[in-house]
């Protein structure tokens, strides 16, 4: 039987142990933010979008370089999907998310092209790394625009993209920074920098999409999109 003071000492020991373990654990940031719908005249295109598992569950794990540092885990997957769904939804007349056999075949006749975003690279810095009072996130995306015929579904439900049938492929970079602020934790600042970077990626994508050579050529060529779409692109 444990007496009262003994129990208190044991509880205190457990508490100290837990605190020590917390200090050693990785610092985790699940990126969250409110993303506005873009204010644009939507392009008259029905676009399919495929978010791969790697994209939808994207995270970066950075192992501590020394004893003074801690591991960092930055999860951007949910925010990526939420952000790009909002952005593409405002940029194009209709956007269809293709995630399986059913969604692939349900809109077969309507989809003009399919876009697949990838996070090619993500880097971050915090004041501890640079001695500069700024938190920064840098992201590099790769986009592929393919015809619907290039998307194949398999019996196990997986979708694959035929790389030989491609309309355009391009990369895009985005940057977000936030200065240190009073009573702001490292996690909050990294989250804010990631949200700024996502917004920057969206601004870059929205203003450069029609200037991507492959996209412009596709728009100018014979495709399912109406002639109005091509005129709209030329007008910008």
């Amino acid at each position: 039987m444990i007496s009262g003071p003994e129990r208190t000492v044991r509880a205190f020991g457990i508490l100290v142990g837990l605190l020590l373990l917390t200090a050693c654990g990785a610092r985790e940031v699940v990126v969250k933010g409110n993303f506005p719908k873009p204010l644009m005249d939507p392009l008259p295109i029905t676009l399919g979008v495929v978010y791969s598992d790697a994209f939808a569950q994207h995270e970066i794990f950075d192992e501590a370089a020394g004893r003074a540092e801690t591991d960092w885990l930055v999860k951007t997957g949910d925010a990526q999907v939420e952000f790009w769904t909002t952005l593409l939804g405002g940029m194009f007349e209709e956007v269809v998310r293709i995630s399986d056999h059913d969604s692939l075949h349900a809109h077969e006749s309507e989809i003009d092209a399919v876009i697949i975003p990838y996070v090619a690279d993500l880097q971050y810095t915090i004041p501890l790394h640079t001695n500069v009072k700024v938190y920064e996130i840098w992201m590099k995306y790769r986009f592929r625009l393919v015809p619907l015929e290039a998307v194949h579904d398999h019996e196990n439900g997986d979708l694959t993209i035929d790389s030989t049938e491609q309309l355009a492929e391009w990369t895009l970079s985005a940057y977000g920074k936030t200065p240190t602020a009073f009573l702001q934790s490292d996690e909050e600042a990294v989250n804010l920098a990631a949200v700024v970077a996502l917004r920057d990626a969206g601004a870059n994508f929205a203003t450069s999409f029609t200037r991507v050579p492959g996209v412009a050529a596709w728009m100018a060529g014979d495709n399912k999109a109406s002639e109005n779409a091509a005129e709209s692109f030329e007008g910008e």
Binding site: N34, P36, K37, P38, L39, M40, D41, K177, P179, R199, D200, G202, A203, N204, A206, T207, G235, E236
Partner: protein, 240 residues
């Protein structure tokens, strides 16, 4: 009856003493704040034209910070401070909230896409939805604030300790701050620049500590906000 009267009088007497004590305390606080404020030097330059002599009526103004430079960005709270200053000075002026405006105009006012010259406004207005939103907001003036507040120097040291008998600090610290901001006023209807106002302020703050640290803060950024806010208010308001 007389008891009740007495009690009412007593109560009134107590209220009076409470009030005067509060007044003294308030005066003491104000005096202490004034004494404990560091000195700030401010220089304001102004060059404006086409002033709206009748005021801006029911049109609106938006004040935004420039954030495209890699090494600094204009602080959101500084922009908010100027907006509040103008609203306080003339409640009839509609100053749009910066973040709300940026969100409702996304992606056209992000650091990458924000117009840098008045010539860029035309390009923005080719997007019908953007033009409609501007018309809906009745936006007449767009004011860009570019600059930041930085710490220029710091020295001194302070040691703090906690013991069973209490806690305390001993030492002395000092640091300097400098603000450098420029406001550029765009007439959104005529798509021209109608003024530039700059404010440079600097000041030294001190923190002596004998048991309790006493901060003597120079309100450098606050002075820059008041200086720019005053000039912008003078430009936009028909009352001043």
């Amino acid at each position: 009856m007389s008891d009740r009267l007495h009690s009412r009088k007593a109560s009134r007497g107590y209220d009076g003493a409470d009030c005067s004590a509060r007044g003294v305390l308030w005066l003491l606080c104000v005096a202490l704040t004034l004494v404990l404020q560091g000195c700030v030097n401010a220089t304001v330059d102004e060059m404006t034209f086409l002033e709206p002599t009748e005021g801006i009526g029911d049109a609106s103004v938006v004040i935004m910070g420039r954030r495209h430079a890699p090494d600094y960005e204009t602080e959101f709270d500084f922009i908010e401070c100027i907006g509040d200053h103008i609203r306080r000075g003339d409640a009839s002026i509609t100053v749009l909230h910066e973040l709300e405006f940026i969100n409702m105009m996304y992606p056209w006012f992000e650091p990458r896409t924000a117009p840098l010259r008045t010539d860029d406004i035309d390009k923005l207005l080719t997007q019908q939805r953007v033009a409609d939103r501007f018309a809906e907001l009745k936006l007449e003036y767009m004011i860009w604030i570019d600059g930041s507040t930085v710490e220029t120097n710091s020295s001194g040291s302070m040691t703090c300790g906690v013991g069973p008998g209490g806690a305390g600090c001993f030492g002395f610290g000092t640091w300097g701050n400098a603000s450098d901001y420029e406001a550029t006023i765009w007439d959104f209807t005529d798509e021209i620049e109608v003024g530039r106002i700059s404010a440079n302020t600097s000041g030294q703050s001190y923190m002596p500590a004998v048991v309790v640290p006493i901060p003597i803060i120079a309100p450098v950024q606050g002075t820059a906000c008041d200086s720019l806010g005053d000039q912008l208010l003078k430009y936009l308001s028909a009352k001043i």
